[in-house]
């Protein structure tokens, strides 16, 4: 599964891009025939080029709940707030890169905690080691 991604924004340093790509490309898909290959590039591969903006600040206009994400499942644009610090921002980007390829989230949102923050648990069959079990 090849996912071409053009990393843009002030957070798209070679160090961050390398960390994101390594995180995705070392994922165990559970099927030896399926391998994920995120390719950092500014040129389309087979007509496909996704853009991931790594920059400061949340974008609640386009992403009203989380302030970041990709435009849609199988979409081609994303934004990650680098103010979240590392490794959170890089993990968020690695998670959202998979949405470019149409990979679904695999968590169940639960009751909010006493401070009103969202809680989630991995869907049955997934655990906390899985990249799609939550945003980070």
């Amino acid at each position: 599964m090849v996912i071409p991604v053009h990393f843009t924004g002030s957070g798209a340093t070679s160090e961050n891009v390398s960390a994101i790509v390594n995180r995705d490309n070392q994922l165990d898909t559970g099927d030896s025939h399926v391998k994920i290959e995120v390719v950092p590039t500014d040129k389309p591969i087979n007509g496909v080029l996704n853009t991931m903006d790594l920059s400061s600040g949340y974008d609640f206009k386009n992403y009203p709940k989380a302030g970041e994400g990709v435009n849609k499942l199988g979409g081609n644009e994303g934004h990650i707030n680098t103010d979240a610090g590392q490794p959170n921002a890089n993990n968020g980007a690695a998670h959202d890169n998979l949405h470019f390829a149409g990979v679904r989230d695999q968590y169940d949102e639960g009751k909010k905690d006493k401070d009103g923050h969202r809680t989630s648990t991995p869907k049955p069959g997934y655990d906390s080691t899985n990249i799609v079990r939550e945003r980070n």
């Binding site: 009203p64 709940k65 994400g69 435009n71 849609k72 199988g74 968590y107 639960g110 909010k112």
Partner: protein
């Protein structure tokens, strides 16, 4: 002659009576607190969930749950919403599930709306929640 006058005045008399009766019964109805849970974080799913939350805020029947008003009903978007391109427009296709806070399943609904009018999806979901809520006990 007198009968004719009475008949002419009858519609306005009925209207006045109905308005007065309505005012007498105008006790504020209880709005049921609802929690919205979204099992997806792409923008279309986030926007669908936010639209449902906004719709609940202005609903006469429901209110968004808070610590002060714990949820009695739960709307869950169980997975990332789907979409398809129709010409230059994007159609959002959703599934929403309804349950009570005690985990009683109250059914689900599927529907679609244009992404530039995503509040239409929210209106559909909240309308179906009203139907589903009658099953709660």
């Amino acid at each position: 002659m007198q009968i004719r006058i009475v008949w002419r005045r009858l519609p306005s008399t009925v209207v006045i009576f109905c308005v007065a009766a309505g005012m007498l019964n105008a006790v504020p109805s209880k709005r049921t607190p609802v929690d919205v849970r979204c099992n997806g974080d792409d923008a279309l799913t986030q926007r669908t969930c936010a639209a449902v939350e906004n719709g609940l805020k202005s609903s006469p029947d429901f209110i968004l749950s808070a610590e002060s008003s714990p949820a009695e009903l739960v709307i869950t978007i169980p997975t990332n919403v789907d979409w398809k391109k129709v010409g230059k427009r994007t159609k959002v296709i959703y599934l929403a599930e309804f349950s009570s806070s005690g985990h009683q399943t109250l059914g689900n609904t599927k529907g679609a709306c244009w992404d530039h009018a995503i509040s239409t999806c929210a209106t559909q979901i909240i309308r179906q929640l009203k139907v589903a809520a009658r099953k709660a006990h």
